[in-house]
């Protein structure tokens, strides 16, 4: 009964078994072959890629929610070399629309380096330019002539953009294409704005795809600046420079009760969207923001601080009478008044009103160097205010014991010569007088928005250099002196306090009598200050006197401020307050 053909089944089974074993053997051999490890390493890059995700840079707004710094789409344009069908057309299009060299581009496409699959032709291409190429690529997609832009790749990404151009440029600073912030807020808060980049392995195999972790964008900043007040300050400053022939200038507007900077107008300014022009605009040692970075001798605006110290220390009272003979000797040197004249008997208000150098030098001598410089240090002179902007300068306050301090400096420092301050230092010091003795920290950051939560910065009192009584008394003296003397600074209907300052400019050969720095510090309404304005015009040519050039700028600024800040005239305001 045995099957004579059974051997055929056995042979077939043997062959199949042999084949199966062979396949199994080969599988094991390939897996364990020393070459297998090398192949694994070789193909590893094709499994995926390490990708760094850069969070969008945080935005910057003014206090009313107007965008000052945002992000806009730009394109990286490259060529996928394996997809190119018509290299000549690609090179020609790149040459016409991107301004690239035709031959060089063609060589990049047709003769790439070994292993190169993708070539970047241009980056930071504006959308308008990129869109033209995209449209052309679509048109040529089915072109019967064979012309094709196949292989051109458009990779959109974000770049910093400043919708307001040059407005508040010196406060904002700028960010380069590499994402690094320079100057102003962009530099000071760079790490907050930039966020934290995350590098991840992104597999090509969709089976291994994983959810991307949440990559939070950089923090959004809300500044204390008011766009309208900033624009008004810049227009006023530009107009003043032209009218009075000044070389440069600064206008700072601050809320003296909170330290919030409402405007900081500075020259020169630059369009932040064209930051590469920086070196052409800020030539030589020109500071990016002279309101915080350039120290200068402020002149008589500093008499406000001297008088504050004299009153607070009890050296004088507002009614103390001084006989001005036109000259005083301090440290062996003669000090004269600005007009060289003698003003006779003057009370302290008169000394401020007529800006008498001799009187203020006398008060400093009466106080003594230790007391005088102690107060100046309390007002923050000679040290950084700590304002949250990059590049602040500490100024220079020479002290007894310093190698370059001489006894006469006590007299000259009392009226703002021989001492170097920045405008922001004067603003901070002035806030103590406007704010009942409380000196506030000047700042430009109102709030940080992170993870959807807004955290507001609180008002910081950095010191109480004088008592509230002294501040009130001096405030009243400045109101009187302003209304009596510096009429060009007055605004009808509003009670303001203020002081001019005209300072000669030191040179290597002594003080230059022909050139001055004209300044003005003032605030209002005097009984409840809502704004403090500081004006500095460098080397005005129309007139050397601050009362002629800086005081009118203060008035122009205040006239706009009362409108923009909704501050009614005193009679209406007090009537409304009384009715509440």
């Amino acid at each position: 009964m045995s099957n004579p053909h059974a051997w055929r089944f056995s042979a077939l089974a043997f062959l199949l078994a042999l084949l199966g074993s062979g396949i199994l053997f080969q599988m094991v051999r390939i897996q364990t072959d020393p070459q297998a490890r090398a192949w694994l390493v070789e193909q590893d890059p094709y499994n995926g890629a390490w990708v760094t995700y850069y969070p969008a840079r945080g935005e910057i707004y003014d206090r009313n929610g107007n965008l000052l710094a945002g992000n806009q789409t730009i394109y990286e344009i490259g060529v996928d070399l394996q997809a190119v069908r018509d290299p000549e057309s690609v090179a020609l299009a790149a040459s016409v629309y991107l301004g690239l060299d035709y031959n060089r581009t063609l060589a990049q496409i047709t003769e790439p380096a070994e292993g190169i699959l993708y070539v970047v032709l241009a980056d930071h291409v504006p959308p308008e330019q990129a869109n033209k190429l995209i449209e052309l690529q679509e048109v040529l997609m089915n072109d019967p002539s064979g012309q094709s832009l196949a292989g051109l790749r458009f990779v959109p990404h974000l770049e910093r953009s400043y919708p307001e151009g040059a407005l508040a440029s010196n406060v904002i600073g700028f960010t380069t294409r590499e994402g690094q912030g320079y100057y102003g807020v962009e530099e000071k808060y760079n790490s907050l704005l930039a966020g934290v980049p995350v590098t991840l392995w992104v597999p090509s195999d969709p089976n291994r795809a994983e959810e991307l972790p949440d990559i939070p964008p950089g923090a959004t900043l809300i500044l204390t600046l008011d766009r309208q007040i900033q624009a008004a300050a810049e227009e006023t400053l530009d107009s003043a420079l032209q009218t009075y022939g000044a070389r440069s200038g600064v206008i700072i507007v601050m809320d003296p009760q909170t330290g919030e900077i409402l405007a900081m107008a500075v020259t020169p300014r630059m369009d932040l969207n064209r930051y590469w022009e920086y070196e052409n605009i800020f030539v030589g040692e020109t500071p990016f923001n002279r309101a915080i970075s350039q120290a200068y001798e402020p002149g008589s605006v500093l008499k406000v601080l001297t008088m504050a110290a004299a009153l607070d220390s009890g050296t004088v009272t507002p009614d103390t009478v001084f006989l001005d003979t036109g000259t005083i000797i301090v440290g062996g040197g003669y000090i004269h008044n600005w007009d060289g004249g003698a003003w006779g008997y003057q009370d302290m208000t008169g000394c401020l009103e007529h800006s008498l150098n001799v009187c203020l030098a006398w008060t400093a001598v009466e106080m003594g160097a230790d007391t005088f410089y102690g107060y100046m240090q309390s007002f923050g002179l000679g040290r950084l205010t700590g304002i949250d902007l990059a590049g602040e300068h500490p100024g220079r306050l020479k002290l007894p014991g310093d190698g370059d301090w001489y006894p006469i400096d006590l007299g000259t420092n009392a009226f703002g010569q021989g001492v170097a301050v920045t405008p922001i230092q004067m603003v901070m010091a002035g806030s103590a007088i406007a704010n009942e003795g409380r000196m506030v920290y000047p700042h430009v950051l109102h709030a940080i928005v992170q993870d959807g939560q807004q955290r507001a910065m609180s008002t910081q009192i950095v010191g109480r250099p004088i008592s509230p009584e002294t501040a009130r008394a001096l405030n009243q003296m400045l109101v009187e002196s302003l209304s009596n003397e510096t009429s060009l600074a007055n605004v009808p209907g509003y009670t303001l306090a203020g002081k001019t300052g005209t300072a000669q400019i030191p040179t290597a050969y002594g003080y230059d009598p022909r050139q001055t720095n004209a300044s003005f510090i003032g605030w209002g309404p005097a009984d409840d200050p809502r704004f403090l304005v500081y004006v500095w015009l460098e080397r005005p040519t129309a007139s050397p006197w601050a009362s002629q050039v800086a005081a009118p700028v203060f008035r122009q600024m205040v006239e706009q401020l009362v409108v923009l800040m909704n501050i009614p005239p005193d009679d209406i305001r007090l009537q409304a307050a009384g009715g509440e």
Binding site: Q72, D205, N207, E211, H446, V562, G579
Partner: protein
């Protein structure tokens, strides 16, 4: 002994019947293996499709965020101070002077406050991937059992 052998032969099945049983077993194994392979292929395919969809969605989210930021900047360009001033001047407006403003006393008036950009945040991040794609078979069974009999989880 011969008798015993004889009985055994009598109860032994016919050879063709044994062969059919072996073939049947082999085919059963083949069907099981094929079913498992098919199931594996189906699950793998669905996983791959879900993974690809995830990658596409993530790209779309990033793209939407970029477009959103871009549109916001475009809007800011259109409403910038210089653009708005130009439009206002073209419409015949000019800045008001202090002496032109009429103040009216309004009880309860609150002056404008600085902008607030806070936004509500979800309590906890919600994962886009279904649990089934994260769990082992045992975890999945355990979850299914718990879901079908909530009392057992107590």
């Amino acid at each position: 002994m011969d008798n015993v052998t004889g009985i055994a032969r009598k109860v032994q099945q016919a050879p063709w019947r044994v062969q059919r049983q072996w073939i049947g077993l082999f085919l059963l194994g083949l069907v099981v293996v094929t079913l498992m392979a098919g199931l594996h292929l189906s699950v793998t395919t669905r996983t791959a499709l879900a993974g690809r969809e995830l990658q596409i969605l993530q790209d779309e989210i990033l793209d939407a965020q970029r477009v959103n930021a871009d549109l916001e900047t475009q809007w800011a360009n259109l409403t910038s101070y210089s653009a708005m001033r130009e439009r206002a001047l073209a419409m015949g407006f000019r800045p008001a002077r202090a002496d032109e403003i009429l103040y009216v006393f309004a009880a309860g008036y609150q002056p404008p406050q600085p902008v607030n950009l806070s936004r509500p945040v979800p309590a906890a991040p919600v994962s886009l991937i279904l649990p089934a794609y994260r769990q082992s078979l045992l975890e999945w069974f355990s979850d299914q059992l718990t879901a079908s009999n909530p009392a057992s989880g107590r």
